[in-house]
């Protein structure tokens, strides 16, 4: 994307994304500490264990808000494509893992793999599209 001028929607999106990502990291950190050292048991353990899902829901909402608020239809298209790439990659990895686990003894993925797969592929798709559609200087 380089030094491309960002739209108001994109600036809002980046601000929200950074906040949501930061909250996610903090919640995962606190959850890990609580589960490992907090002697949390019973139904509270279940609540604590799923707590990181809340910032993930917020991240999904941040993406949806950007798609809704971006007035530049081409930029919107690029982000939607990236979301599709991230979602597709996540689904492929999940399917491979599920079938391997179902029919063999391997296939267990480390925790948070899906989350990482989505964001890495989403970022790569953004970067590749950014390079492919970079405006050449015509001034």
């Amino acid at each position: 994307m380089g030094c491309r001028v960002k739209s108001k929607a994109e600036k809002r999106y980046l601000k929200r994304l950074i906040w949501a990502m930061s909250v996610y990291v903090v919640v995962v950190f606190l959850t890990t500490i609580l589960v490992r050292h907090g002697h949390v048991t019973g139904w509270i353990l279940y609540v604590v264990a799923v707590a990181p899902c809340i910032p993930i829901l917020r991240l999904i909402q941040v993406l949806a808000l950007y798609v809704q608020e971006e007035t530049d239809e081409f930029q919107r298209l690029l982000v939607v494509r990236s979301i599709l790439c991230g979602g597709a990659a996540m689904l492929v990895v999940a399917a491979f893992s599920d079938f391997l686990r179902s029919y063999t003894k391997i296939g267990d993925l480390p925790p948070f793999t899906m989350f990482m797969v989505f964001w890495v592929v989403f970022g790569l798709a953004q970067g590749v599209q950014g390079m492919m559609t970079r405006a050449v200087d015509d001034e």
């Binding site: 491309r4 007035t71 239809e73 081409f74 930029q75 492919m132 559609t133």
Partner: protein, 64 residues
């Protein structure tokens, strides 16, 4: 879809950034339309046509 955006812009000595500002889109979008990588929606095509005071079919040409 072919278009005459680059020619019309050059006639007015506008840069891609100038046109992007006038259309309230990114320069990347103008570039993608000019190079045929992206066909604009009907509302954006109307905005472009109004800006250049031309009809849509005078700017965009469907070779099919």
């Amino acid at each position: 879809m072919n278009n005459r955006l680059r020619v019309l812009r050059a006639e007015r000595a506008w840069s891609q950034a100038d046109l992007a500002d006038k259309l309230e889109v990114s320069r990347q979008s103008v570039n993608a339309i000019e190079t045929g990588k992206y066909d604009p929606s009907l509302p954006l095509a109307f905005r472009i046509a109004r800006l250049f005071e031309k009809r849509i079919e005078e700017i965009f040409d469907d070779p099919a």
